[in-house]
Symmetry: C2
Subunit: 138 residues, 2 copies
DNA sequence: TCAATAAATGCACTTCCATTGCATAGATAT
DNA sequence: ATATCTATGCAATGGAAGTGCATTTATTGA
């Protein structure tokens, strides 16, 4: 069992207090978070630091960015089964129109999409919108 | 063969010079356009007018908004085979990473997506990214 | 036809999020 | 210990979406 420190180092990310905190915050969350979410969780820290930390995590492929159609970027840790460094990793995301939360459905792979002749598919973004399990049970 | 005027009236959209121009602009384009694209095409007109015209077209279901992951809303005329008033109309969009253009693949319907128990799917947004036919032929 | 009414347009402004430049603090290596 | 590189914080910018209000333009009805 790797420590977080070891994990970050293995990804060539320098370990700092801030980065550990942000990593733990993302790990606790079961949903994709916005930069503002992180900002609210760490009011002492500067927005820029949080922004750049996320970008670093993204570059090193331990976080992926999600565009769920709300117009605001969200981020989530890449879990096992999520290979974001591979461009063709294609799990889908679910956005709840009720609670506004977005979750990764890592185990749900996107089916093969056919495109017309001459078009080359490199990547697919698929967001399903509706009501999540928590909200539909209400 | 309906005139544009007749078409707009049939959709309960009042005909104005501006609206005709914007409609024609959209009709000429084979790709989804941003508000800025329209703005550049009609430098005399105010941004707000263009914005509200597009919103009107959207409400009346002759234009649909596309979120292609660039972070900028794009718009395209609803063609035959596009039934945007029906929430479950699910054609997909293709975004070219080279020329940055986004096109509707109206004839390509989105396959049925399975979501976990407890989740209710209301809508699906699917964007394929890659290289378009024009760019791949270069 | 003219007045009353409603809709469309234009201008100014606000808000929100993403992003960058630069100075400083902190860590690493020689 | 000092030079060097990275991370952090502050300030500012830019782009896009959206809103309030005044004015112009079109529509309706007397």
């Amino acid at each position: 069992m790797k420590t977080i420190e070891q994990f970050l180092e293995s990804k060539n990310i320098r370990v700092t207090a801030m980065r550990l905190l942000i990593y733990k915050f993302l790990a606790e969350k079961q949903v994709a978070v916005t930069l503002s979410d992180i900002e609210n969780a760490f009011e002492k820290a500067d927005r820029t630091t949080l922004y750049r930390t996320i970008k670093t995590f993204e570059e090193k492929a331990i976080v992926h960015q999600i565009d769920d159609g709300t117009g605001i970027n969200k981020y989530a840790l890449c879990e096992k089964g999520c290979n974001c460094e591979i461009e063709t990793d294609l799990h889908l995301h679910f956005h709840c129109n009720n609670c506004n939360e977005t979750i990764c459905l890592t185990e749900h792979k996107i089916p093969q999409i056919k495109v017309p002749d001459g078009f080359v598919s490199e990547n697919v973004n698929l967001v399903v919108k509706g009501i999540c399990d928590k909200c539909s049970g209400q």
